[in-house]
């Protein structure tokens, strides 16, 4: 835009954020609007940059594992597994198979709770609040299960370099089985409400389209890329933890729903089908859970001594609920790693917003923005600058715009 806001001229600049209607993390958006239509998008992340890598380069790997638990508020285990896997490769630590299986079970439980959280957020953005409450109520089962297995609901603290810190006892197995059958019974119902609802289809079909080529060029990952038909899933492509022993296929939007179109609807389908896949993976892990130790070394001083001697570099990567999560670590014989680079999944997915939002309407922004990232929504305000005067739109007003559109469509 020209920078001159005193004239009545198209395009209008609409800043949204940094605290945002569709994301837990603050991100500043600047939209160039032509009436109701988005012409171009710019965004500025960084409002929650805490310098975790900098902190990590001054701590030993065992301390960093607990720091990695806290990188994300939803993914409590993927960063820890990534980091632990990188360090284990450098120090040539062999993880006991039982620990690999428990890591996998945690990994998939996390995917279930994350996808359900996202499903609730998506329903809320569309103004379908009964579905939002249903999805979050259903999510509680996985949170309770995670709490039972790890002692925590959010920062699990279960990963240690060389294995896991808590075993799955024989008493806990029936609980997991019970949780799995609970979700199995609900899946069809969830699929029915999300995929056969005409309002959801109207709001999400052909909106926020990311083409196959754009997904590749903009390095999209996870359900965002798979929704566009890119067959990419670290669990299938690159063996780690117990996935080498399992049969995991990337979930792509099935042809019965119109094939991969790369729109919001396809990303909903992928996530819902992945919940079913996660249940299946946990069942496979439980059935084949090997016996044995859960830690390479129980004594912390011995573990720290080994890590202090370790030299080299390695990459640890996993498929997080939102896509590939990757940690690069380099150790040079000191207590703290010389280099640590965290690549969270959203880091790769942010660029996809640009083509997705172009040409869409203001009221579609919340659901499209939320469609790549399963974070809780919390907005502060939106400022619309028109003819030099700034009107503040509150969170409620932007959500209201989105809901009004839903009502308008359902009346048609």
């Amino acid at each position: 835009m020209s920078g001159d806001t005193t004239k009545k001229s198209i395009p209008y600049t609409v800043p949204i954020g940094p605290v945002h209607p569709a994301l837990k993390e603050p991100v500043m958006f600047t939209f160039q609007m032509d009436g109701e239509v988005v012409r171009s998008v710019d965004f500025a992340p960084g409002n929650t940059h805490r310098g975790i890598e900098w902190m990590g380069m001054r701590r030993n790997p065992v301390q960093i594992v607990h720091l990695t638990d806290r990188i994300c508020g939803i993914c409590g285990v993927v960063h820890s597994i990534s980091f632990a896997r990188a360090v284990e490769q450098i120090a040539e630590i062999e993880v006991p198979p039982r620990a690999d299986y428990i890591r996998t079970i945690m990994h998939e439980l996390e995917r279930i709770q994350s996808h359900l959280l996202w499903a609730g957020v998506a329903a809320h953005e569309l103004g379908f609040d009964s579905l939002f409450y249903l999805a979050w109520r259903v999510r509680e089962q996985s949170m309770d299960l995670i709490e039972n297995l790890t002692g925590n609901r959010v920062n699990y603290g279960i990963i240690q370099i060389g294995g896991v810190r808590r075993d799955i006892s024989d008493d806990q197995r029936p609980l997991i089985e019970q949780g799995l059958s609970y979700y199995r019974g609900l899946l069809d119902q969830m699929k029915n409400v999300f995929l056969n609802d005409s309002t959801i289809r109207m709001r999400c079909r052909d909106h926020g389209v990311l083409t196959y080529r754009d997904a590749q060029l903009l390095c999209a990952i996870g359900p965002t890329a798979r929704g566009s038909g890119v067959s990419m899933d670290v669990r299938h492509d690159y063996p780690y933890c117990a996935y080498g022993d399992l049969d995991v296929r990337p979930v792509l939007p099935p042809a019965e729903f119109g094939g991969p179109k790369g729109d919001v609807y396809d990303r909903i389908i992928v996530r819902l089908l992945e919940i079913a896949q996660s249940i299946d993976i946990i069942q496979q892990c439980l059935d084949n859970l090997p016996a044995g130790e859960i830690l390479w070394e129980k004594k912390l001083p011995k573990l720290l001594f080994t890590l202090k001697k370790a030299q080299g570099e390695a990459i640890g990567r996993v498929e997080a609920p939102r896509g590939e999560c990757m940690h690069y670590v380099r150790m040079d014989g000191n207590e703290a790693p010389a280099t640590w680079k965290v690549k969270a999944s959203s880091y790769s997915n942010l660029m996809s917003w640009i083509p997705m939002l172009r040409g869409e309407q203001l009221a579609d922004i919340p659901i499209i923005v939320a469609s790549i990232d399963p974070c809780m929504s919390c907005t502060d305000r939106v400022t619309i600058i028109r003819n030099g005067s700034a009107d503040n739109l509150t969170k409620e007003e932007l959500t209201r715009l989105s809901r009004e559109k839903t009502r308008r469509l359902s009346r048609c």
């Binding site: 960084g46 940059h49 001054r58 701590r59 390095c219 990757m326 380099r330 660029m351």
Partner: protein, 212 residues
Amino acid sequence: MSETPHLSPSEIIDLYKAAFGTGILDAKITERGEGVHKIKGYNIWIRLDKNLLKPAIKKLMDIRFPHFAVIAGSDLGDEIELLYILSVFYGTKFGEYMVTFGIRLPKTDLTVPTITDLIPGALLSEREKQEFFGITVTDIPDGRRLFLPDDFPQGVYPWRKDETGIKPEMVRELWAIGRPKDRPAPPVPEKKPVPEEPGIKEDKKPSGGAAE
């Protein structure tokens, strides 16, 4: 884009050695197997001349369109090493490899060409490296800061380990700041610090903390 058949990690390294010869400074393959069956995943590490970075990435695109993950960086003293981490052959059952290209920039000439003309998604990572290492990415389409706030001092690069890195006076130890003074008193009085035992020697005190 022409698609070549699936290659083994050593075949990829052979291709690069044949194409770039002495420009390849070091090439290695690491592998790792986990779980019960220990099926291996492979990482390919290629250190090369700075000028060969873009041709190397282009070559990878000719083999199969890669997924670009991130650029990692390391301050080695006189040089900054950048590692372009990509993966190739995704979509193949256990056939994906991580491919990492490492280049070194002397601190006297911290410039590197952009790769966003080949892979536009690399933009965020390039912007991040500019602000965190003080390098210059030439021809970058958008050179603004990404994560650092606008009021962050110019000329300070958080991941550098020399005098341009974070200075000790910039570090606030959260444990040392204590409770804000302008708040009402907590319902439960705060614990008084436990007096130190005289027997503990100076060097046995717990270490750690960001300022070290």
